[in-house]
Each structure stands twice: as structure tokens, then as C-alpha cells.
Symmetry: none
DNA sequence: GATGAATGAGCGTTCATTCAT
DNA sequence: GATGAATGAACGCTCATTCAT
């Protein structure tokens, strides 16, 4: 089977885009959306201001692109980790561990991500909708696992989606605590803490 | 004749300040900090732009004042509700219920509040410190209740502060879900869901 | 002989005005016209902002009033000193000494005065005219003395007005040098220097 | 082919800067620093407001740049004129003539210059220092000539620096008189008047 | 008369976006 | 495609002036 068909131009374009995205993530993470300038991102990416507009139509566009790319990567990482283990218990633990570890490795992205999460509430409707899709996407696989657990009676009967969101919230809270420096425990201890709480809260007895 | 001690001027000043604060809350809630202008707030308050500067030194000042006033009121409300009941279990439930109910009643404020919570991660250090104080303040009373519960063996042994933050996170998550319209359940059902999860997660057996 | 006729009200008014004027002079001198606020002057005078508008119609008005009052006092002082001596030579020396000494004593005023002198060139025509009157007023007595000296052949024949302005310029320059700290000589030495130069420049042989 | 070394970009930049400077000089001259707006300067230069900030960091910066450029040109002109003649007497005359003629040709600049000279007294220390340097710079060559004259006994013994400042003051005064319209004499007559006064005042016998 | 809270026009500065090279 | 000079709308903040008390 021959080349999947990316022309040289497309490759260059993708490379540029990912470079810009990485720069954007760094910049937005350190200064927030409003206090970052396109110039900042351009400098961080080592290109000229105008070039960014060849790849993204506006500052907001760039921001969303950076955010989306990060979320997709994050979700994929979680999926990978969850697919690698077998039981409901393990999968839930994998989800939590994957998120917390990912956050440790990608602090930049998480800063943007949480910042956006807060702002989403004050954002235009259209943006909220899209953000919701992305956010729920990651909860979906978790809620399937939970539904499975409920079916097998490993978990007590409860709405899988609500439970999934609860897990996400708890994990999120722990990540923030670590990020802001309120938690001094080891990564593994914090993962264990969240999992314990959740497992005791959800399991059947 | 007992003078309650406030001169007419002081009364007027307080009234103006609270009017401005209310307008600020509304405006910041609907558009976020950066996309709100002082002019917007002034209009919402029915006064002139310059007048705001008679009461608050800067846009940021006004923002913080609106935020702080709201947090203080929120914490007081929670304290009141928790003080009104006796057992550890009831107090925990009171905390959760108080928060969720308060959020229903004060949607404006919560929008600002969560927005800030996200942005805190990208904010100047000094602001983070103050915000942290306010945020931890509300967790403090909860962690005392938990410590009490642990002492009485009603709760399994765990770090009270971490547990308190976990409760706050879970409650927060539920409020956001309701706010964004992802939860269609009744307020009481949602309160119950959070409490169940927490109680099962934390209690001894 | 009875009262010269100032009612109590007028006395109060005059007192207020002179207090305000003094405050204005101090404030304008230290910060310049544009960087001084009416509030500054009010504070310096120990009264409320609005009160100033009972005595002066605008900030500019107040400024001019402060300037004029100072110039009048300065001119009167020079007249007094010049009237106290007899010869042309002494009168010229008296003028120079009076100005330099007055400047030492009234640094505030001179700062405003010179500042205005510079700005006069960029000021509206009407203001320039009035300023010109005041400025020439002080040169007038000097030019009469010079005319007298020319008539008596003590001075070589030259246009009295031009000579008067030249004396004023030289004196002014010395005052500025002292004010800015470029001259380290004693007041008397500086007076002598200016006078020597002038006298040699103007006298007949 | 010899490249003189300026890239096209540099040429454009220099052109823009000098255009802006010229516009600034005109505007500041006619309205003064505080009553001129950046918008005014931009309009006068036929460019957009923002463009000015590409070349000057602030309004004050622009002002100083306009002032400095003018002073440097003025000093160079005087140096040229003085270098072209041989005797002490001629050099002093050249200084006076150069200044007065330059003022006739550059009324805009002189208006700004004198305005600044007055304001210098109320300006922040740092600015005064720089202005002092520029101002003294022009007096320096004059005081060397005077020192020379004193050495050759052409001038009576006196402090060269004080004498230089006196010449500058007198010249300055004459320029102002011409500028404000108080002198109706011809340029040459006014030059002669100042020179006569100075020469008689300074020369030996 | 005296006050000082309220007003709102005005300005310096920033920065997302455009477009000629 | 890449650049970065140019643009101009937008906004935070100031302060002279007014006027109800």
C-alpha cells in the first residue's frame, strides 16, 4: 500500500499548525486568553504575526484549536489507558490515574483547559455547545464502564452519566489542588485518594 | 433616642456601593471580566462611568469586591445552615444543600465565581493568595466537621482537608452541571445524589 | 475719617481669595498648570473643591489670577526699590537686585511665572495680549529710567525699550540659573555680575 | 556598486520618523504639549494614531524626540557658523546671528523649545538633567570662545560660562521679542543690537 | 456660602486584523 | 507563502465643572 496521500505541502502545513498550536498553548497557559497577544504567540512560535492568520482566522479560532487539540489528545490518552485493563475497577482507576498523570505532564494545557471551563459559563452559546460536546465526550467512555459495572452489580444502581461526571469532577478538583500547590502528597497517593473515595461511594457495599 | 450610628451619608454610600456591586455582578456574570466594560457596569447601575471610580479604584478592584462580597455571603449562608443541625451527617448534607440552593438563587454570582476559579490558575500570584484564603475559608468549617466525624468513628480515617475539598469539588461540579443545563433532575435529587456518593465514600462501612 | 468701606463680607471674600491664590501658587509651582488639579488646590487651601468655583470661574481663571497677583506684587516691589534711590545707575542696580532677591524669596511664584512665559508663545491670542501688558508694565519703569539716562548722556543712545527688555532678559536668565542650580555664586555676586555686564554694555564709555 | 548601507526598510523608517517629528513639532508648537493630542499629530502627519506608537513609545517620548532633534540641529548650525569665522568678535557675532536667523526659519521649533525651557522648572528631575545637558552643550562652544577672548585680553576677565549663558539669555530674549511681535526692527538690526550690548559689556574697554 | 458626590467628555495606549510587498 | 507596518476601534481612567443639599 502506497502513501496515504499527504502532499509535501500538507505536511508542511500540518507542521506549522502544530508548532503554532504548541506556542499558543504555552502562551495562553501562562497569561490567559485575554492577556495574551497574537504577537506573543507568534514570537513563541518563531514566526511573524501575519503568518498565524494564514492558519487561523482569528485569535479565538486559534484558542479553540489549541484547546480542542489538547482535549482530543487527553481523551485519547484516557481511552488507551482504560482499554489496557480489564475490570470495571481497573478501568475507573485507569481513568483517574490517566487524567492526573496527564495533567502533571501537560500543565500548560490544563491551565488553559480549566480556565476555559470556568469561562465557558460566560461564553456565547455556540461555544458552549461545542465545549460541551468535547467535555461530555470524555465522560462517555467512563459512563459506559459505569453502566457495565452497574449491570454486573459491581456498582450500586445509579445514573451512569451523573456518576461519570462526579468522577470527572473529583479528578478535576484533585488536579487543580495539585496545580495550585495545595496538595503536597505524591501523585500516586492523590490518585489513590480519589479512587478510594469514588469506589467506596459507588461500589455495592 | 438611639442613633444606630450611620450618618445619612454613610447610608447613601453603602447603598451606592451595593447597587454598583450588584450591577457589576450581573455584568461580569454575563460577559466575563475582560469583555465587560466599566461603562457596561455603570449603565447597568444607572449611573455615570466616573461615579464608579468614586467607590472603586479600578476595574479589577470592583471585580474583586463583587467576588468577595459574594463569597462572604455564600460562606455565611453555609455556616448558618450547618449550625442549624446537629450530627455530622446532617452538617455535611447541610453544606451540600446550602451550596446548591444558593447557586440556584444566585446564578449571577456563581458564574463570576467559577469563572474566577478557572482563571485563578493564570492570575498573578498575589491574587491567587487572596482567592485561596477565601476558598479555603469555606472548606475550613467543613473539614472541622469531618475531623469530628473521624474522631467519632462515623467516618473512616482520612485527611479532613482533602475530604472537605473533595466534597466542595463534587458540589461544585453538580452546580455547574445544573447551571449549564446538563442536569435535568430536581434540586433535591441532585443534592441527594451528591450526598449519597460522598457519604458512602467517606463513612465507615 | 470713617471706614474705607469694605463690608465684612468683602473682607471675608478677599481673605478667601488670597488664601486660594496662595494655595494655587504653591500647587501650580510644584506641578505646573496641567498636572495640577483643582482638587489639589482645594486641599492645599483647606477648602472644598466647589468653593473655588465660587471665587474663580475656571481653572484657567484661577491660574491667571495667581499669576497676575504675583506679577503685580513683583512690580510693586521693584518700583519701591527703584524709588528709594536717586541715580540712573542705582535705579538700574535696584531693579536687578529687586528681581533676583524677590525670586529667591518667592521661588514658587517664579516657577509659575517662567513656565507661563514659555507657554505664552503657544497660548491663545487673548491671553498673550494680557500677559504682554503685564510683562511690558514692569519694563516700562525701567525704560523710563533708561530714557532718562540717555538724555543725561550717562548712557549711550539706544532704544530705551529694547534696553529695558535686555536687562529684564539678563536678569531673568540669572534667576533661572540660580533656580535650576547652575549658579553657585552668592546672590550679591550674581547681582553684581548682571549689573556689571549691563552697565558696561549700556553706559557711555 | 557601493551600497551606502541603508536598506530600503531603514530608509522608510527614517522617513516616517522624520515626518512624524515634523508633524509633532508643528502641533506641539501651535498648541503646547498638554493641549496637543496624539491624534492631532497623527492627523498632521497624515497617518493613523497607532502608527505613531510604532516609532515612539509614548507622547512624552515623541515630544522629547522632537525637541532633541531640533536642539541638535540648532547647535550644529551655530557650530557651523562659528567655525566659518576667525576672530573672537566674529565668532560671538556668528553665534547670535545664527540663533536669531535659525529662530526666524524654525519658528515652530523655537516655540516648543522655549515652552519647554519654561516648563523645565516644573519637570521631573530626570528630564531636567537631560535638558540641561542639551542646553549647556550649546553654551559650551560659546564659553570656549569667550575663554579664548579673555586669554587674549580682548575680553575683560570674567567667568566664561556665566558670560556664555548671558549671551544665550540675551539672544533668547530677542528671539522671543521677535516671535511675539514686540520687535519691529529688521533681523540684522536686532542682531546688531544684541551684539553691541554684549560686546560693550564684555570687551576690554 | 460651602460642600463634595455626580457627571461625562476626553485622551493615551493597546492590539486584533489587514494587505502591500 | 511569509512578513510586519499600518490601521483604528475600543477601553480604562481622569478631572474640570455642576448642583442639590
Amino acid at each position: 500500500m502506497l502513501s496515504v496521500g499527504k502532499s509535501k505541502k500538507e505536511v508542511v502545513t500540518e507542521f506549522r499548525q502544530s508548532e503554532i498550536l504548541a506556542a499558543a498553548r504555552r502562551v495562553f497557559a501562562s497569561r490567559g486568553f485575554h492577556d495574551s497577544t497574537i504577537e506573543d504567540v507568534a514570537e513563541a512560535a518563531g514566526i511573524a504575526k501575519g503568518t498565524i492568520y494564514l492558519y487561523y482566522a482569528s485569535k479565538l479560532d486559534l484558542y479553540w484549536a489549541a484547546l480542542k487539540a489538547g482535549i482530543v489528545a487527553m481523551v485519547e490518552e484516557a481511552e488507551r489507558q482504560m482499554a489496557a485493563v480489564a475490570t470495571v475497577r481497573e478501568k475507573m482507576q485507569a481513568f483517574i490515574a490517566s487524567k492526573i498523570n496527564y495533567a502533571e505532564a501537560q500543565k500548560d494545557f490544563f491551565r488553559v483547559y480549566f480556565s476555559e471551563f470556568g469561562n465557558a459559563l460566560t461564553h456565547p452559546a455556540e461555544m458552549q455547545r461545542e465545549f460541551k460536546q468535547l467535555y461530555l465526550g470524555q465522560a462517555r467512555m467512563l459512563s459506559q464502564v459505569i453502566a457495565d459495572g452497574v449491570r454486573r452489580k459491581e456498582l450500586r444502581p445509579l445514573a451512569p452519566e451523573s456518576a461519570a461526571l462526579a468522577i470527572a469532577d473529583l479528578t478535576r478538583g484533585m488536579i487543580v489542588q495539585r496545580m495550585v500547590g495545595w496538595s503536597k502528597a505524591s501523585v500516586d497517593d492523590d490518585i489513590q485518594f480519589v479512587f478510594d473515595l469514588i469506589w467506596k461511594g459507588l461500589s455495592n457495599r
